[in-house]
């Protein structure tokens, strides 16, 4: 960015000024008080200050009525022209415009008002906060404004106060970082990072995503891989089909083989079973015939044995019948005897039953008596229990009287003590109330009166009236001093090196040792102390104004300064603040004391209320205890323990008599019941024995009668059967039957051996099984043919081979893909890491800039000083001198100015931005000024420099000055433009001409 044209009106002492700037070094020269520095301020104001900011007041013309107006034309790095115009003033009068132009002649308005400053901040990127933002009040300032537009009075300021840390906005840091990164970049690093970026760009987009277009290494491999994976999916399907078809063929084949085996087995079993069945049928026929023959033989032989047996049996039957008849007669007699004995036992039992009725009657009488005795015993025991309860109650009542008496006494004592505590708390409350009322009354009194808080105000502090009086006097003094304004300049030309101490408008400057001429300007007063020799004070203004000011200064010294000194402050504002703090302290102490008293009163009242409540509770408890004592005594008087003891003894004695009576009756009943049971039991047993004997004897009679009858019947049947058997035997040929049986047995025996224990074969079932298996085999053959047909449709070993080949190719493709990813991820990571390292290194802006500054500074000082140490935020840390770090402040004022100017020029070069040097080397010797001229002319090839000076002879050769009557001169092929400011600036007040130069030639 460079300045093109500046136009100023009504700005401080300038009525109007207008000048054009060259691209390189612009030397603006003119005498002191011409208004050159005002032009520098005009540039700062138009670029940095909003038109309605309060700080514009300092630019209001001292002589005219018009509002300050500045128009500055700039040219940016893209050769676009911008013209910013500001008329400074409050609401209604101030305004701003920003116009742009492609050719620098025809402008169009871009923005106006507040947006102008917004746009300028964006364009300049100097670290100034945007309008309306939070930032320091006053004239906008930042590190870069300090570098590029430093004020005349603070040339070395960039070395002491300059740092990016305090910038209200980061834009300045960012701009410097961008500019200095290029300066810091190592050529090898640049080559490496460019090459790595080129490789990474092959595979990744600028946002770090993988490229997915043609030419991307990922895409090529991924396409190959995806194609193979798709093909593999298809092959897998075919392999699965093959596996399924093969499995199906194998399964169906196995099933068919199994079916075939089972069919053959079933057919063999069927043939065997059918043979067995025929043999079995023949065997059964032979068996039937043999059995019939043998049956006939056995029947005849049995008849013959029966006839013989019957012949033997007849005499035995006759003898048995005779013996049975004799036994029957004996049994009948025994039965008759047993029945007679049974009848006798019956009679004895009946007699005992009659006697038992009498015994029952007696037992009932005894039972009734026992019941009465049991009731009497129960009543006696109730009487004993009542007597015992009466005795316990009497004893309990006596004990209750004793306990109630003790409780009543204790309750009365506690109630009395509580009453005393209530009285004490009431007194405490009264005391607290009294204290609070006292404090309240004191707070209502006016300040300054003594209070119990102990925060008495300082009695010597001025009151409000006195402060107002001092403030009026101070304001009057300021007005009078302001009227002294108009400016003055003192030139000191020491004849030898002396320490000079200047105080400009009341502000002391650092003492400096000077041997050359020194020019110092002031607005109103300027004091010079020359070594320890003399103090000179010069005051500007008219006589009447000076007298008025002197008079007021004396009044202030007498009235105001004395008060300030008494209180150890320097300004009236500090004294006012002191008074305000004292008043605030007093009020805070009073409020704290009142809070403490109120808390004490509330606490005492709380304690009193608690004690009153407790006393009331204790009094109520005493009354209840007395009532309980009275009741206990009344109950005790109604119960006598001695008479109760006597009644209990009588009741226990009566109960014991009843117990003995009941025991005697119980014993009698048991004895009677035992005797009766024994007699009846004996009689019943005898009867039962006789009855059993009679029954047995009668049964024996019946049995012998029956046996005899059977024997008779048997004899009759045997006689009939014998006759029948003899008839049957007579009609059968027994020998013929025996021969037939022998022949049948001979045929049957081999068959029995052959068939053995075989089960009967189920030939139909076997035949059915064979048929079923044969059908299944046919189905299986069909299924096998179908499965083989399906197998021929699949890929078989071919697809397996292809799948194996493809798997290898896929694995290789995946390996290549992985290698490619690792390779390009490596390039990407390398670029990222290089950038991160570069950023980490580049954020230390001081390292980038220290080199060129130090190099020039070493040249300037002929190697006296080493490297300038600049911090990450460009704060100056010191200079390397002889291996040690020296503070900048230790350098001479002139050297500080030179070092600061070098730093500023270097930064301007890096930013490619115009820089204003306003009398920057006022304390430098001619040699260094000459060196600097060369440096500035060299720098001006790259960056525009506006150099303001009142000593053009130090900067320019005589032939570089404008010709007589001409305001400007361009030299060095347009690199240097010289402007005689006396011909450019129109002041409100006349000035003296600049220092004369020797005439050219």
């Amino acid at each position: 960015m460079r300045l093109v044209r500046l136009s100023v009106e009504h700005f401080q002492c300038i009525r109007s000024a207008e000048l054009d700037f060259g691209r390189g070094l612009n030397v603006l020269y003119g005498p002191n008080d011409l208004g050159k520095s005002s032009l520098a301020w005009a540039i700062r104001a138009v670029l940095l200050l909003q038109h309605n900011a309060a700080a514009h007041e300092r630019f209001v013309s001292w002589y005219g009525d018009g509002e300050p107006r500045v128009a500055l034309t700039l040219c940016d790095d893209e050769d676009r022209y911008w013209r910013v115009t500001k008329t400074f003033g409050g609401a209604g009068s101030g305004r701003s415009h920003l116009e742009s132009s492609k050719d620098g002649r025809t402008f169009i308005t871009e923005v106006s008002g507040r947006q102008v400053d917004d746009k300028l901040r964006t364009m300049l990127r100097w670290g100034i906060q945007r309008p309306g933002g939070q930032g320091p009040r006053g004239f906008p300032s930042s590190f870069l404004t300090q570098v590029l537009l430093a004020e005349q009075q603070n040339v070395p300021g960039v070395l002491f106060d300059g740092t990016l840390v305090n910038d209200p906005d980061d834009s300045g840091r960012l701009r410097l970082t961008e500019a200095l990164n290029a300066l810091a970049q190592d050529p090898l690093f640049k080559k490496v990072v460019d090459a790595a970026q080129a490789r990474a760009d092959v595979a990744f987009t600028p946002t770090g995503k993988k490229r997915n277009g043609r030419g991307s290494p990922f895409v090529e491999i991924a396409d190959q891989l995806n194609g193979m994976l798709r093909e593999r999916d298809e092959l897998e399907t075919k392999v699965r089909e093959t596996i399924a078809a093969e499995a199906r063929v194998r399964q169906v084949g196995l099933e068919r083989d199994e079916l075939l085996l089972r069919l053959e087995e079933s057919r063999a079993a069927l043939v065997t079973a059918e043979g067995q069945l025929a043999a079995r049928q023949r065997r059964d026929l032979l068996r039937t015939q043999l059995e019939a023959c043998l049956t006939t033989i056995r029947s005849v032989e049995d008849l013959q044995r029966q006839i013989a047996a019957l012949d033997e049996q007849a005499p035995r039957l006759q003898a048995s019948i005779a013996a049975g008849e004799a036994g029957l007669a004996t049994a009948t007699a025994a039965a008759q005897r047993s029945e007679a004995e049974r009848d006798r036992a019956r009679k004895r039992l009946d007699s005992l039953a009659h006697e038992d009725i009498e015994t029952d009657r007696r037992l009932r009488a005894l039972g009734e008596r026992e019941s009465s005795a049991r009731e009497a015993l129960y009543q006696a025991e109730r009487s004993v229990e009542k007597a015992s309860e009466s005795l316990r109650l009497a004893r309990s009542a006596a004990a209750a009287v004793v306990q109630a008496s003790g409780l009543a006494s204790t309750a009365a004592q506690e109630a009395a003590a509580a009453d005393e505590a209530v009285a004490s708390a009431t007194a405490e409350v009264a005391r607290a109330q009294k204290e609070a009322e006292l404090v309240s009354a004191e707070r209502d009194e006016p300040p300054g009166q003594a209070v119990a808080s102990g925060t008495e105000p300082r009695p010597d502090l001025p009151g409000a009236d006195e402060l107002a009086s001092l403030r009026a006097l101070r304001d009057e003094l300021r007005v009078a001093e302001a009227r002294l304004g108009g400016g003055l300049s003192v030139t000191v030309r020491p004849r030898k090196a002396l320490t000079l101490r200047f105080t400009v408008d009341g502000q002391a400057r650092r003492p400096a040792k000077a041997a050359d001429e020194t020019v110092v300007a002031a607005e109103r007063t300027l004091a010079v102390s020359v070594a320890d020799l003399v103090d000179i004070e010069v005051t500007a203004g008219e006589e009447s104004a000076r007298q008025a000011a002197t008079k007021l200064q004396r009044r202030w010294a007498k009235q105001g300064a004395a008060v300030l000194a008494r209180h150890g402050v320097e300004t009236l504002e500090e004294l006012e603040a002191l008074c305000q703090r004292a008043e605030a302290d007093r009020r805070a102490a009073e409020a704290a004391l009142a809070r403490r008293l109120q808390q004490a009163l509330a606490s005492a009242q709380t304690r009193r209320d608690e004690r009153m409540a407790r006393a009331q509770r204790l009094r109520d408890a005493a009354v209840q205890a007395a009532t309980r004592l009275s009741d206990a005594r009344s109950r005790a008087s109604q119960l006598d323990p001695d008479s109760g003891q006597q009644a209990l003894g009588a009741a226990e004695e009566a109960r014991d008599v009843r117990k003995r009576e009941r025991a005697a009756l119980t014993e009698e009943i048991a004895r009677v019941e035992t005797e009766r049971g024994a007699a009846i039991s004996s009689a019943r047993k005898a009867y039962e024995t006789a009855e059993e004997r009679a029954r047995l004897d009668r049964t024996s009679v019946d049995q012998r009668g029956g046996e005899l009858k059977i024997l008779a019947e048997e004899r009759t049947r045997a006689q009939a059967a014998l006759a029948e058997l003899r008839i049957q035997v007579a009609g059968t040929n027994l020998d013929e039957a025996r021969r037939t049986a022998g022949a049948l047995q001979a045929e049957l025996s081999p068959l029995e051996g052959q068939l053995g224990a075989l089960d009967l074969p189920d030939v139909p079932l076997l035949r059915s099984t064979v048929d079923r298996l044969a059908a299944q085999l046919r189905d299986s053959d069909t299924e096998l043919a179908r499965a083989r047909g399906a197998l021929e449709q699949v890929g078989g070993a071919v697809v397996r081979d292809r799948q194996r080949d493809l798997d290898q190719a896929i694995q290789q493709a995946r390996d290549r893909e992985h290698e490619t990813e690792v390779e390009f991820d490596g390039w990407k990571l390398l670029v990222e890491t290089l950038r991160a390292s570069e950023s980490a290194e580049g954020s230390h802006l001081g390292r980038a800039l220290a080199g060129p500054v130090s190099e020039r500074f070493r040249s300037l000082t002929r190697g006296r000083y080493g490297k300038l140490e600049l911090g990450p935020h460009l704060q100056a840390g010191g200079l390397q001198v002889g291996g040690n770090l020296r503070e900048i402040g230790a350098l001479s004022a002139g050297t500080q100015d030179q070092l600061a100017t070098l730093l500023r020029v270097c930064i301007a070069e890096q930013l490619q931005s115009a820089i204003v040097l306003d009398d920057h080397l006022s304390q430098s010797d001619p040699d260094r000024i000459a060196w600097f001229n060369a440096i500035l002319r060299d720098a001006a090839r790259q960056v525009q420099i506006i150099l303001i000076t009142c000593r053009p002879s130090e900067v320019l050769a005589p032939d570089e000055l404008p010709a007589a009557g001409e305001p400007t001169h361009s030299g060095a092929a347009g690199l240097v433009r010289v402007v005689d400011m006396t011909k450019v600036i129109s002041r409100f007040a006349p000035v003296t001409p600049a220092d004369p130069l020797p005439a050219p030639g």
């Binding site: 190592d186 090898l188 690093f189 080559k191 490496v192 090459a195 790595a196 490789r199 193979m228 093959t242 078809a245 093969e246 063929v249 194998r250 084949g253 083989r788 197998l791 021929e792 449709q793 699949v794 890929g795 078989g796 070993a797 071919v798 697809v799 081979d801 080949d805 493809l806 290898q808 190719a809 290789q812 493709a813 390996d815 992985h818 290698e819 690792v822 390779e823 991820d825 490596g826 390039w827 990571l829 390398l830 890491t833 290089l834 991160a836 390292s837 570069e838 980490a840 290194e841």
Partner: protein
């Protein structure tokens, strides 16, 4: 073979199979793929030359001559041309295998242009009862594959020797012998199929290695194997088999190498081994799969990469190895001491090295090592000290 046997030879055959014309070599770079595919056509010239040299009565091609049943014209047309160009005009019998089965539309179908392009002395086994008189004393029975998979034994499907038939009987089928995995569904060939059907020699195809199954089988049941290896791990490949049958039907056979390429897998475990590999002869006709299992410093890695470039060649230079496939999965950069190698760099580059070194322990370690190597090479290429 003794002189007497030579004199008594009644039949000479050249038995080959598994040419797999049109096979794609997907794991290789494009130029290598082309070279390997073209080699499958080139070997046919050497097969035909071997037949001429031996003066065989016929060439038996036992299936899988094409990699698929419908190959592109670029594969069948040159084959037809080569077969047509033989001056001997001896019979060549082509048998469809499971890769190129005889199906509707397949290359062997009578309607296919390939069939029309074949000369009269080239015959295709296109019937299940195919019979061909090899000479007055010998007859060939063959049966084609009609699908890619099948469960029926193709050899047992051939006719048995008739009583009184004393001719030399040669059988030719394509399938898996009984000892192969999953042979049951890949046209299984029973161990005694040749004997049961009365063949003196059973010419079969499918397996890519030259084998007699079992090794001492009588009558011989022989796989000639593929004449050009198709993948790594195929032992005894690259041959055809010359078959000699005497009048007394004694059979001898002899493998004969015709392949151009030798396929080898190697692993190098030191830079020295890699350097030695550079000086090995016979690499020009080798398909080499090279696994690098070694950890190298950055300069060593540079050297290794240079050697690999020399072995493989570039688009402008021919590599020492015919076809090279490199597995760098186990080739690692040893970053210890890389700071020393890059010690004289500007601060910003040394800071980059330090940062990448710290990242090596993270899950980005491999990428960080890659970045370090990139940086090392860039710095060297830039001519840094």
């Amino acid at each position: 073979m003794t002189r007497r046997e030579v004199d008594d030879v009644a039949l000479k055959l050249l038995h080959t199979a598994d040419w797999h014309l049109g096979k794609r070599f997907r794991g290789f770079d494009e130029p290598d793929r082309v070279a390997l595919s073209r080699a499958r056509l080139d070997v046919i010239d050497r097969i035909l030359a071997a037949a001429d040299l031996r003066g065989v009565d016929a060439i038996l091609c036992a299936g899988d001559l094409f990699d698929e049943p419908t190959p592109d014209r670029q594969w069948w047309e040159p084959l037809a041309s080569k077969l047509s160009g033989t001056k001997s005009r001896r019979p060549v019998i082509l048998l469809p295998g499971n890769h190129d089965p005889l199906q509707e539309g397949s290359v062997y179908h009578p309607d296919h242009a390939f069939r029309r392009a074949l000369p009269a002395w080239v015959h295709v086994v296109d019937r299940d009862d195919y019979t061909f008189a090899l000479n007055d004393l010998a007859v060939l029975h063959a049966r084609p594959c009609r699908s890619r998979a099948g469960q029926q034994d193709p050899a047992l499907a051939l006719p048995a020797r008739e009583p009184g038939d004393e001719r030399i009987r040669i059988g030719m089928v394509h399938g898996s012998t009984f000892d192969a995995v999953d042979c049951q569904t890949n046209f299984p060939i029973a161990k005694d199929a040749a004997a049961r059907r009365g063949f003196d020699y059973l010419a079969i195809g499918d397996t890519h290695s030259t084998r007699n199954v079992p090794p001492d089988a009588r009558p011989p049941v022989v796989y000639p194997g593929t004449p050009e290896t198709t993948s790594f791990g195929e032992a005894e490949a690259g041959n055809v088999v010359a078959v000699f049958v005497t009048r007394s039907r004694r059979v001898t056979f002899q493998p004969e190498r015709v392949a151009y390429w030798s396929w080898t897998e190697r692993t190098v475990r030191s830079l020295g081994e890699l350097r030695d590999l550079r000086s090995e002869p016979q690499l020009a006709r080798t398909v080499l799969r090279l696994t690098i299992d070694v950890t190298l410093s950055a300069p060593e890695l540079d050297e290794a990469e240079a050697i690999l470039r020399e072995l493989k060649g570039t688009t402008a230079t021919r590599g020492r190895v015919g076809i090279l496939q490199v597995d760098r999965g186990r080739m690692r950069l040893d970053t210890a001491g890389i700071e020393t190698l890059l010690a004289d760099l500007p601060d910003v580059l040394r800071a980059t090295v330090a940062h990448l070194r710290t990242m090596e322990a993270s899950d980005q370690g491999e990428v960080a090592r890659s970045a370090l190597y990139h940086l090392y090479r860039l710095v060297r290429e830039a001519g840094a000290p």
